[in-house]
């Protein structure tokens, strides 16, 4: 009898490749010996675990990604990337498929949430100067992931094949044609045609459900692994104790003998000694994931997405707006196609890529809004605020023919 009762425990042990034990000294093996857990560090600084250090934004972004993969696979059971079946499938999904509407809305909310979270995560990395050596390359990986997140959201935007989807993609890909030389060929490569149609739907679908998620998944793994190898979070560089990971010391790649002046800023009262990550880190992750899922589900139920009329190439809605994360760009383009559509975005991108290779001054690394970085922080904040303002104007203050209306001011017509 006892043989049978012990089966669950034996399965559990066999999963871990080690007999279960509560001896803390064995805990690191739990992480190391497990394929799914080994991206975690063995030991982690309490500073890294403090919510104010990172606001948990990387974890939140990853949680959104998991929700997106699961709901996305569920949606794939119903979706057909064809004109006009795609739209009919969407109708069936939200009208009659059991839990179909909430699955779709959860996917939509998590996608928007991931875009927001990945932006905030990048801002956190900037404002805490986490991109400084030796983490320059991981900043680039992060930028690539930000781009991939936008691309994933953008390709998914077309799939419902309603008027909103069709014209948002038409407007956004239209911005590409302002780029000299490569703009038009890239646009046609993306759409498979001169305008958005069956070819574009198929291409966006393949990109959305296979190509981009596969790359994103791989890069997320690399991003997390690299974070660990680069010495954990920048915030814990300044702890006096042993380092949290087996990575080479960050300082060893800086000028020899130069220690970070930020050491003194470590607040008293928190032990700087790294602690074993298992199982605390896992529980934190589980809690954050559950919170993200719960909030997404609440928003998905409270604010169901709409499905407009079937896409119609002859009847652009007025105004046609890009997805919200490109509305700032659309607003810029409305002032000047060349400056707003080409020069400004490329300049921002180039500065973002070069930032860690230009700004190598280690002062302020790992601290929020370090006063030593006043200049660069002010500059970047101005860009972020301007971008938010353009997005806000484009989203809420632009009516038919892209004419300015105060938010709440009635547009001519039924709106």
């Amino acid at each position: 009898m006892r043989t049978f009762l012990d089966i669950p425990a034996r399965v559990w042990d066999s999963f871990h490749r080690e007999p279960h034990t509560h001896r803390p000294r064995r805990h690191p093996l739990r992480m190391i010996d497990n394929l799914f857990l080994h991206v975690h560090p063995n030991r982690v600084s309490p500073i890294s675990l403090r919510p104010t250090t990172t606001l948990g934004l990387g974890l939140i972004t990853a949680s959104f990604f998991i929700i997106l993969v699961v709901t996305g696979v569920l949606l794939m059971f119903y979706y057909v990337p064809a004109v006009p079946e795609a739209y009919e499938r969407m109708q069936d999904l939200i009208y009659v498929v059991r839990l179909g509407r909430v699955t779709r809305d959860l996917h939509r909310v998590a996608a928007e949430g991931m875009v927001v979270a990945v932006f905030l995560h990048a801002l956190r990395a900037f404002y805490t100067a986490a991109y400084k050596p030796p983490r320059e390359f991981n900043w680039l990986v992060g930028l690539a992931l930000l781009t991939l997140t936008l691309a994933l959201s953008f390709t998914g935007y077309l799939l419902p094949w309603d008027q909103l989807a069709y014209w948002a993609i038409t407007v956004s890909t239209g911005i590409l044609s302002y780029y000299p030389l490569f703009g038009e060929p890239v646009r046609e490569l993306l759409l498979g045609d001169r305008s958005v149609g069956q070819e574009a739907l198929l291409r966006f679908y393949v990109l959305h459900v296979f190509f981009l998620p596969a790359i994103t998944f791989g890069l997320i793994g690399y991003h997390i692994w690299r974070t660990r190898k680069d010495g954990g979070l920048a915030a814990q560089d300044h702890t006096g104790g042993a380092r949290a990971s087996n990575a080479p010391r960050a300082e060893s790649r800086l000028q020899p003998g130069r220690r970070s002046p930020a050491k003194a800023s470590t607040p008293a009262g928190i032990s700087e000694e790294p602690i074993t990550a298992y199982p605390l880190l896992l529980w934190i992750e589980i809690a954050v994931f559950l919170a993200v899922l719960l909030v997404s589900l609440g928003i998905a139920i409270a604010f169901p997405g709409r499905l407009d009329a079937l896409a119609n190439a002859d009847h652009p809605p007025n105004p046609s707006k890009a997805p919200w994360y490109f509305i700032g760009l659309q607003e810029l383009v409305s002032y000047s196609a060349a400056w707003g559509g080409v020069v400004v975005p490329i300049a921002v991108l180039v500065v973002g890529v070069l930032l860690p290779y230009v700004d190598r001054d280690p002062r302020g690394a790992g601290r929020w809004f370090a006063p030593e970085r006043r200049g660069v922080i002010a500059l970047a904040s101005a860009v972020v605020i301007a971008w938010l303002a353009f997005t806000f104007i484009g989203a809420f203050a632009r009516g038919p023919n892209w004419v300015f209306y105060w938010p709440g001011q009635p547009w001519p017509g039924p709106g």
Partner: protein, 404 residues
């Protein structure tokens, strides 16, 4: 620290489990199930009713493969084919006549009634959610559904009277000066050949009553249509479906009589409609409820007076010769509806140039040439030739040169 996070995870997972359970509970009680229970109760009151034995709650759908349609209307409209439900309230009542010749299992519902056949909530199925195209067609406009497939040849004129009235008005208001139908007409406004597959009746109706409501910045003039007129024109435009959208496109063919083409120039209209009785009723699109149309006084009997077949609807010949003799240029200007396109002072459209000060810039001779043959004076212009008599041209020119 560890215990705290474990508690947080536990509480969150309990809330999540509760939320999922609630979701499952709501999902298992769809709104249509309430209608089906009510129907079963009603049917049970009627003796010897077969439907009374049917008690399974389920979505009922009709698939029409040829049209690629799925209609789930019968999920709530349960008594449509049950003659015993004639006295039952909506949505359970029996469908009035017609279903013998149009069996729903073959045609579905939305092909005539509009709406979003795949949806199973009232607001979504009737197309009342923002952005939806398939809007339930009100009774007053239903003749367009008959006309879309049958034309007027095989139907009694009273059945399609509102459509015939619409054709008459389209000719009278000269819609084809700007709009195209099947390749006939002007190019200023959009082609309306398949307008019903792009716009629903609410949009068409609202656009007719207040053109800038649907298309902000539209140059289409406000013709000051009465609601009955807008209803009739909308009724015709609703028959303009796209290829493959008619039952007749895929099931059998009935030749559709062609609409009278562009009105011949000399058949232009004078205004025996006094300006007073077409003053637009200041209709904001928001307050056009479906009920408005039903309340209009366009009972079929009203319009069926003449035997109207689309072929023989020539535009009404209200000759502006009536304004003669001694042509008053100003009255002629109004009678020809020049102000539909041209503005004088505060009144008039924006399709053509503003004529408020035309007398300052143009000589009488130049104006005379233009009015005689617009195509020669402005080869690329959009102004149609009106084939005016010499006396009429002179009267108009005499009026125009006074505009300074």
């Amino acid at each position: 620290m560890l215990i705290r996070w474990q508690w947080i995870a536990l509480v969150l997972s309990l809330i999540l489990a509760g939320a999922l359970a609630g979701l499952g509970w709501f999902e298992s009680r769809p709104g249509w199930a309430r209608y089906q229970r009510e129907y079963i109760r009603l049917a049970a009151d009627r003796p010897a009713n077969e439907a009374a034995t049917e008690s399974r709650l389920e979505i009922r759908q009709i698939e029409i493969a040829a049209l690629n349609r799925v209609d789930r209307c019968a999920t709530c409209h349960l008594g449509a084919t049950n003659p015993k439900m004639a006295d039952a309230p909506l949505p359970f009542t029996t469908h009035p006549a017609l279903l013998d010749s149009h069996p729903p299992e073959e045609y579905g519902c939305a092909i005539c009634h509009g709406g979003e056949g795949r949806a199973v909530t009232t607001a979504e199925a009737h197309g009342e959610m923002p952005g939806q195209h398939g809007r339930l067609i009100p009774d007053a406009l239903l003749p367009s559904a008959c006309y879309a497939c049958h034309g007027s040849d095989t139907l009694p004129p009273s059945d399609t009277a509102v459509v015939a009235e619409g054709i008459k008005l389209i000719n009278e208001y000269k819609c084809l000066r700007c709009h195209q139908l099947d390749g006939v007409g002007g190019s200023i406004g959009p082609d309306l050949s398949a307008v019903a597959s792009q716009r629903n009746w609410v949009e068409i109706y609202a656009h007719l009553l207040r053109p800038d409501a649907l298309s902000p910045g539209s140059t289409m003039p406000d013709f000051g249509l009465r609601r009955g007129e807008a209803t009739a024109i909308a009724a015709y435009l609703l028959t303009r479906l796209g290829p493959g959208e008619r039952v007749t496109d895929v099931m059998y063919l009935v030749a559709e009589p062609a609409l009278a083409g562009t009105p011949a120039p000399n058949e232009a209209v004078t205004s025996d409609i006094a300006p007073g009785d077409i003053v637009s009723e200041n209709i904001a699109p928001g307050n056009i409820a479906p009920g408005d149309i039903a309340s209009e006084n366009i009972a079929p009997g009203d319009i069926a007076s003449e035997n109207i077949a689309p072929g023989n609807i020539a535009p009404t010949r209200r000759s502006y010769e009536a304004i003669a003799p001694g042509y008053d240029g100003r009255r002629l200007f109004e009678g020809l509806d020049c102000s539909v396109c041209h503005r004088v002072g505060l009144k008039g459209g924006e399709v053509g140039p503003d004529l408020t000060h035309i007398g300052r810039g143009r000589e009488a001779a130049w104006l005379r040439d233009l009015l005689t043959d617009p195509a020669r004076a402005f080869p690329d212009g959009q102004m149609p030739a009106y084939d005016l008599s010499e006396a009429q041209v002179k009267a108009l020119v005499d009026y125009l040169v006074t505009l300074k």
